[in-house]
């Protein structure tokens, strides 16, 4: 095939243009903004005040931001382990040839479709309610009175309540990704292994897991990206003003850019940009580590 330089450039130009304008420009602009103090996010550049690394040092010194990063770490790590384990478990069960596979798959995925607002309202006002909630009635019914008395939405338990509600909704999504990864593995390998005398556990450990490396990378990256953007659930669990147990960097960023819920507070979009930069660096770092730990270039099946 002849290579026609002119054609290549002609076809690439629109895509490159759109990419630079819609992706590259905002990224560059945000990084630049993180070195300034900016009041309104659309202020003209003349109104920006150069502050160098002050935004970053301020973040490091603000206890509320540190709390939000700590919350994020816990959500990512603990939530990640819980969700990935459950998702993997369900995926293995679903692909092991049970009956009503589509039904179970649909049911497990259903919470993911329902709006976060509806889900959170159900959890907050019904499941966790200390007066007539689901948990309270179930525990009282089982006679576990000390558990029934637990106030799931007070400060000590709120984080766990939030994480539980969130993970409940996220398992289905990751389960589907795992299931598709498992289904890609040819059943010949499993048959051969069964013939050679391997039990299900060994098959899982030696065949399924290694061949799922790529899928693990995908899932961990997807999980990291959604965790870093954890916003809606935080807002729902703490209504108008943020809560120390549910605040995440994204919520803090929103407060900095658009002002607090009720009062008129000082805004600094440069600080918000700095948070954005930090979060992006985190995700890139996780992705890089994942890529190095889970090498699947040598896999072919």
């Amino acid at each position: 095939m002849k290579r026609n330089k002119g054609m290549i450039i002609l076809f690439l130009t629109p895509a490159v243009l759109m990419f630079s304008v819609i992706f590259l420009y905002p990224i560059v602009r945000t990084v630049i903004m993180s070195f300034f103090k900016i009041d309104g996010i659309t202020d003209p550049v003349s109104k920006w005040q150069f502050t160098g690394l002050a935004n970053f040092t301020k973040l490091a010194n603000t206890s509320l931001f540190r709390i939000s990063m700590w919350n994020l770490l816990r959500i990512w790590f603990i939530g990640g382990i819980v969700v990935m384990s459950l998702a993997l478990l369900f995926a293995v069960i679903i692909t092991s040839g049970i009956r009503f596979k589509s039904f179970f798959r649909a049911v497990i995925y259903l919470p993911n479709i329902v709006s976060a607002v509806a889900l959170a309202t159900m959890w907050l006002q019904y499941v966790y309610s200390p007066k007539f909630g689901l948990l309270k009635t179930v525990f009282s019914g089982l006679g576990l009175d000390s558990l029934a008395k637990v106030q799931w939405l007070d400060n000590d338990h709120k984080f766990a309540a939030l994480l539980l509600a969130y993970c409940f909704g996220m398992v289905g999504y990751h389960m589907l990704i795992f299931a598709s990864g498992i289904e890609r593995i040819s059943s010949d390998y499993f048959e051969a292994a069964t013939l050679d005398g391997a039990n299900k556990l060994n098959q899982f450990r030696y065949i399924t897991m290694p061949l799922l490396k790529g899928v693990f990378k995908t899932n961990i990256t997807m999980w990291s990206v959604t965790s870093v953007g954890f916003f809606v659930w935080s807002q729902l669990f703490s209504t108008v003003t943020a809560d120390t147990q549910t605040i995440t960097p994204m919520v803090y960023m929103y407060m900095q850019i658009f002002g607090a819920g009720n009062s008129v507070t000082e805004r600094n979009s440069g600080l918000g940009a700095a948070i954005g930069v930090l979060l992006s660096v985190c995700v890139v770092a996780i992705f890089w580590v994942c890529n190095h730990l889970l090498k699947d270039d040598d896999l072919e099946f």
Binding site: L64, S129, W152, T241, S263, S269
Partner: protein, 444 residues
């Protein structure tokens, strides 16, 4: 040869159409550029607004961005006012219901991008402080129609104060933040007059508790207001703000406030679930249901819970009591309003002001107050909705204005921490010293 020509023509047609698309896209990208990475939520209203040019009627057109949703009672009343305005004057109005987040996130970017917006509305503090630079001076327009003759003097004064001495916004739907209570419980506990001092409140709570009711309840959304009000009663609001912003938690007023509330908590005056009440649990399940007596809330409360409280619920209202040794009296509270303001670049200022008069005066102001069970702005509308008639004496007695939460939420970095610890204090899991220590520790 023909194929080559065809291919080139098609390719250039595609490129041209894509660049045009990209051109339009880059315009939206321009306005959303600053917000692209951080703002997950839609800054799209900015781009959408740029295209929303009102169709020119006989007498001109106006563009009005409203903070309400079309389905809310306020939205309906405003729509009715706008329709009547158009019928009477022939000026067409492009009324866009942006909702709270639409205005809070999208108004400033839209104004910066030069979108044609003539008037908008939002909370009095946000309009005058955050967006003060975009407002038109309304002194002349207001004098021309003698607007102040029928407006609430206190509110207009507040608008002037917050506008830096000049009138830059017109208030409507005033509200006041005070203690709301269940009159039936007060009657049963034989409380004949509302508490005006902290000691009287203490006594009233004791009587209510004896009758088996919860004296005071609250939700996480409003808990900081109790802290702010108490502090402001002690040392005044400017000092409270100074303390909160400057992290001066060693100030004796902080400890005094904490001790007062710890005292109430130990006497069992707060709801059992106050520490875990996620709004609207406290107001819906406790106050409206009749198990709790008092709640420091806003005059929108009766409207919010009217379906749950039922028709027999009689509301009472009193201002936050004075505290011994404090500076402020019961005539100070957070009262405010939504306000309408005109874009300083608007070419239709007179028409816009006419529309403002339609909405905030006479028949439609009455409709707004009836539909939303709120307070009328026009002093000619002397009849308040029955449900909030108890608020009138409180509102009329106000002389000093606190901003939201009386300064307690002035520092965004500390608000969640104050909230967390004050909830624990009221729930009894920490004591006054614990509260102050927690604030000091978190104060960076």
């Amino acid at each position: 040869m023909k194929k080559k020509v065809m291919a080139l023509v098609l390719a250039s047609a595609m490129a041209v159409s894509l660049t045009a698309c990209g051109g339009g896209g880059s315009q939206t990208a321009e306005t959303t550029a600053g917000g692209a990475a951080p703002a997950q939520t839609t800054a799209a209203p900015a781009g959408g607004g740029a295209q929303a040019e009102a169709p020119a009627g006989d007498g001109g057109s106006l563009v009005y961005w409203s903070m309400w949703e079309a389905t809310e009672p306020q939205g309906k009343a405003i729509q009715a006012a706008v329709d009547q305005f158009t019928a009477d004057t022939g000026i067409s109005v492009d009324l866009q219901f942006k909702g709270r987040t639409g205005i809070r996130e999208g108004l400033q970017p839209a104004l910066d991008a030069g979108t044609n917006i003539d008037l908008f509305d939002e909370d009095i503090d946000r309009v005058n402080t955050t967006w003060g630079q975009y407002l038109m001076d309304l002194e002349e327009l207001s004098k021309a129609v003698d607007y102040e003759a029928t407006a609430n003097a206190g509110l207009i004064a507040a608008c002037r104060e917050v506008g830096g001495g000049t009138l830059k916004s017109i208030p409507y739907q005033p509200n006041v933040f005070a203690f709301f209570y269940n009159q039936a419980i007060f009657d049963e506990a034989q409380i004949t007059s509302v508490p005006t001092t902290w000691a009287e409140l203490d006594a009233a709570c004791a009587k209510i508790k004896e009758k088996g009711y919860t004296p005071i309840t609250c939700d996480d959304a409003y808990i900081t207001c109790m802290f702010g009000y108490h502090m402001s009663r002690l040392v005044g609001e400017p000092k409270t703000e100074e303390i909160v912003k400057g992290g001066q938690w060693d100030d004796p007023s902080v400890m005094a406030t904490a001790q007062a509330y710890a005292d109430f908590a130990s006497k069992g005056y707060f709801s059992d679930t106050i520490a875990s009440n996620v709004w609207p649990a406290g107001q819906n399940q406790e106050l409206a249901m009749g198990t709790a007596a008092m709640y420091l809330n806003g005059s929108w409360l009766p409207n919010e819970v009217k379906d749950m409280a039922g028709d027999d619920f009689v509301w009472g209202c009193f201002s936050y009591p004075t505290v011994e040794g404090g500076t402020d009296g019961v005539d100070a509270a957070n009262y405010g309003a939504q306000v309408l303001a005109i874009n300083k670049d608007s070419k239709n200022a007179e028409n816009a002001f006419k529309l403002i008069c339609y909405i905030t005066q006479g028949e439609y102001d009455k409709m707004l107050s009836e539909l939303s069970i709120g307070i009328p702005a026009d002093s000619n509308n002397t009849e308040w909705p029955a449900l909030i008639s108890c608020v009138k004496p409180v509102m009329d007695s106000m002389t000093t204005r606190y901003p939201w939460a009386a300064g307690a939420e002035a520092n965004a970095d500390m608000t969640p921490i104050i909230k967390e610890n004050f909830l624990k204090l009221c729930g009894g899991s920490i004591d006054a010293q614990g509260f102050v220590d927690a604030l000091k520790k978190a104060g960076n």
